[in-house]
């Protein structure tokens, strides 16, 4: 019946007009709730202490390029102190308190985070550039949920490994990235503590502030000193921690390149890694297209595309390619880029100048390789690091933009004709973190998901996270899982 009408020719094709007839006024979230100190020390043995070297570095707001605070530049001596404190806490208190009490501490932390959720959200957006809408509605609620979930595991660990015996490992060194600063801290700290370990956490250089606020919450929770230690700094502190001989466990989330180096340098064999990705988001012609387009948006423009499991490669069946691209083009015209603290901002600031430059250089590579670049012409602030949502069409599997992680709001679109071709293209990568499948046909979903070499497969949805759902990669996307019963294995000795 849809075809009874004469179709207009392509030149006369009607266009939607996403103009300025009704502009939304600025709706900035107040920053009154946060109180940023001019300078922060390291959190070691329950106290904030100045760095051994006496050196600090700036952390800036990437949306304004203004300095927010100065934080301690950690070095080997700080890491030594922190590991010593964590060891003492492990042997002195944490391994001795009862499992239910370990759980109760974690519940307490979960509740304190909920109490201060707005403060955390605003601070996260200021330090990292992500839209307040996401830090408020996604990051911080998931952080609290993560602590709450793992709190319950503390006295039930044996149920996760039936007929096997479990014991804690000792001291865990944990190094986390800048894309989900507090959430990654929660993903690391909560299971480690629930399993009875103590922790030295090294937040990313560009986003230390929420980890330091978490340290304050941990102080408020009255966690025994040294159970959680936070050492800020750059790659030097990270390397010192990763290769520290006093650790029983190293956990890292970040780039594949650094992950490999950590695997090599770690003195412990017990290493879990959550690394890069180049996920295929596969759209079949029978998919619920309008929801699939939302899945694309959520897949690649969520958190400025700074997402390891981003749906950065769109594989669309040839028969619906034009329709999907048209809808995507209309849709990104409505994405608002700008002040991360504005409640109507969809895409905030790129986390750092370095990352901004990397995105630009890969985009240039894509253009040079012959792919067609399309970018929304929404207004972008003059100051700060902003990149309007964009996509490439006509991408070939051999292009760099089809192989390398851009880690920005840039999508690479390719086509396929048959399910097997989609499988082959999806798996044709060194990564294996996530994949998306969009089709109305149940049996095809099961075929596709069983063939995806990926640790997380979203069918008819994308970028969903939950502490009960194990997350992690195949191949060079990582080793080990975070979340769920399976994730506990990373912090336990199982026999």
């Amino acid at each position: 019946m849809a075809n009874l009408q004469e179709k207009p020719t392509s030149s006369s094709r009607p266009k939607l007009n996403f103009g300025s007839k009704w502009d939304y006024a600025p709706a900035p979230e107040s920053t009154a709730v946060v109180d940023i100190a001019p300078e922060y020390g390291q959190f070691i043995a329950g106290e904030f202490v100045p760095p051994s070297s006496g050196q600090t570095f700036e952390t800036i707001n990437p949306a304004t390029e203004e300095v927010l605070s100065r934080v301690a530049r950690g070095c080997q001596a700080d890491v030594d102190k922190a590991v010593t404190a964590a060891r003492a806490a492990y042997e002195g208190t944490w391994s001795k308190i009862s499992a239910p009490d370990r759980g109760k501490y974690l519940y307490r932390i979960a509740r304190l985070i909920q109490d201060r959720s707005r403060e955390f959200a605003v601070l996260e957006s200021m330090d990292g550039g992500k839209p307040i809408k996401e830090s408020r509605d996604v990051d911080i609620p998931l952080v609290a949920q993560h602590f709450f979930y793992h709190a319950g595991w503390a006295d039930k660990l044996e149920y996760a490994f039936p007929n096997q015996t479990v014991s804690s490992l000792g001291v865990a060194g944990q190094i986390i990235p800048w894309n989900f600063p507090l959430l990654m801290a929660a993903w690391k700290i909560a299971p480690a503590l629930a399993c009875g370990n103590t922790v030295v956490l090294k937040p990313a250089e560009t986003t230390p502030l929420t980890a330091l606020l978490l340290a304050k919450v941990i102080q408020e929770a009255d966690l025994p000193p040294g159970v959680v230690n936070v050492v800020t700094g750059d790659g030097e502190a990270g390397a010192a921690l990763a290769s520290h001989p006093g650790l029983d466990k190293v956990a890292f989330t970040g780039s594949t390149e650094v992950g490999k180096a950590i695997r090599r340098s770690a003195k412990t064999r017990n290493v879990t890694l959550e690394l890069g990705g180049k996920a295929a988001n596969i759209i079949f012609e029978d998919a619920p297209i309008d929801q699939a387009v939302e899945g694309i948006i959520n897949g690649i423009y969520f958190n400025q595309g700074h997402v390891c499991c981003a749906g950065s490669r769109l594989l669309v069946q040839e028969s619906v390619h034009d329709e999907v691209v048209q809808k995507l083009s209309d849709r990104i015209a409505t994405l608002r880029v700008g002040d991360p603290l504005d409640k109507n901002t969809d895409i905030g600031a790129i986390n750092s100048r370095e990352q901004y430059d990397r995105i630009c250089s890969l985009v240039e590579a894509g253009k040079a390789e012959g792919a067609e670049f399309h970018q929304s012409d929404v207004p972008v602030p003059g100051k700060g690091f902003f990149f309007a949502p964009a996509y490439f069409t006509g991408v070939a599997q051999s292009h760099r933009i089809a192989q390398e992680e851009i880690f920005g709001p840039v999508l690479s679109i390719m086509t396929f004709r048959t399910p097997d071709e989609a499988v082959a293209k999806a798996n044709n990568t060194k990564y294996g973190l996530s994949a998306g499948i969009w089709t109305d046909k149940g049996s095809r979903i099961f075929k596709m998901l069983s063939k995806m070499n990926a640790g997380v497969v979203w069918a008819n949805t994308f970028n969903k996270f939950d502490p009960s759902s194990p997350f992690g990669g195949y191949k060079e996307s990582g080793w080990g899982r975070e979340g769920g019963a399976q994730g506990l294995g990373a912090y336990l000795e199982v026999k």
Partner: protein, 306 residues
């Protein structure tokens, strides 16, 4: 009819495109996260007033009640004469003459429900007669109900042909086709019924009669807006949208406007293409505007209850 080719029959068309309910709900919820403040709020509320089909559809409706409502529709707030009038006054067929005379020259349209509203359970000939009468009595717009019984038993052709007949009976009057989405239940059905309505000649498609729960919801309206978008991109014809029932607050109205703006674009932000079927919404908007003007939260006692 060259487009009735094998290729077009085999290719997946808008009519049969599935809708994922969870995805549609998720998307609809995102519009409610938009924060509409100050000037944008003021502008949005004025727009909303001009889009209201101010409605009374009760057994106890009387000429007196309808005249009062018309007065309100023409001049919503005697304290603020700068406000626009509503889009239309929506009544039963028996009240069309009263409404038409009360609204004459005001620019406010007379909308009449017809076709054995709300159930539609009368012979087609009777329903058509009712439409013709309402139009000749002065209705500018006819809000018909589709034959849900036929739809749910898969007799789509029958649904389609009835709408075509009603459209003919409307003559110059605009036709709004009520899907009664609360009875269609699934979004797949809503999408399919939307396309049938549009292809059969609807000027507007409308969610509900207001007599069945659930009435208008954000996701159902979104699914219909997406069908309108598809129809427009395929044919170049702009079809209007009318959610009705359940929209009672300014905040809700603004959410719907956000959804229209971000789904169909600026062209649909006009009473010619977007209406809200409502009764209590108008006073809530007036209270919000007064709050913006005065800075004080308002009391219902200060706004006429018509």
């Amino acid at each position: 009819m060259s487009s009735l080719s094998l290729a077009s029959l085999l290719s997946p068309g808008a009519f049969d495109r599935p809708v994922d309910q969870v995805g549609a709900n998720e998307r609809a919820a995102k519009f409610t996260k938009r924060s509409i403040k100050t000037e944008a709020k003021h502008q949005g509320l004025l727009m909303a007033i001009s889009m209201i089909d101010l409605t009374t559809l009760e057994g106890k409706d009387s000429p007196g009640k309808v005249r009062q409502l018309c007065t309100k529709g023409i001049q919503p707030d005697p304290e603020d004469l700068s406000l626009p009038h509503v889009g239309a006054i929506c009544v039963y067929p028996s009240m069309v003459r009263t409404a038409a005379s009360a609204l004459e020259g005001s620019g406010v349209n007379v909308a009449s429900v017809a076709t054995a509203f709300p159930s539609g359970q009368l012979a087609l000939s009777e329903r058509l007669k009712e439409v013709e009468q309402a139009v000749s009595d002065g209705a500018d717009e006819i809000d018909m109900v589709i034959n849900r019984g036929a739809f749910l038993s898969g007799r789509y052709q029958e649904v389609f042909e009835e709408i075509v007949e009603v459209k003919k009976a409307c003559g110059p009057a605009h036709l709004k086709v009520i899907l009664e989405t609360g009875e269609l239940e699934s979004y797949d059905n809503v999408r399919r019924a939307s396309h049938i309505g549009m292809m059969a000649g609807a000027d507007f498609i409308k969610t509900s009669t207001g007599k069945v729960s659930p009435a208008a919801t954000m996701p159902v309206t979104l699914v219909m807006l997406e069908a309108i978008r598809e129809h427009y991109l395929e044919t170049g014809r702009k079809i209007g949208m009318k959610p009705a029932g359940g929209i009672r607050t300014s905040k809700q109205a603004l959410h719907y406007l956000v959804m229209v703006k971000e789904t169909l674009g600026d062209d649909w932000l006009t009473p010619d293409l977007f209406r809200i079927g409502a009764s209590s919404l108008l006073n809530d908007i007036l209270m919000q505007l007064a709050k913006q003007r005065t800075g004080a939260y308002q009391s219902a006692d200060y706004f006429s209850n018509d």
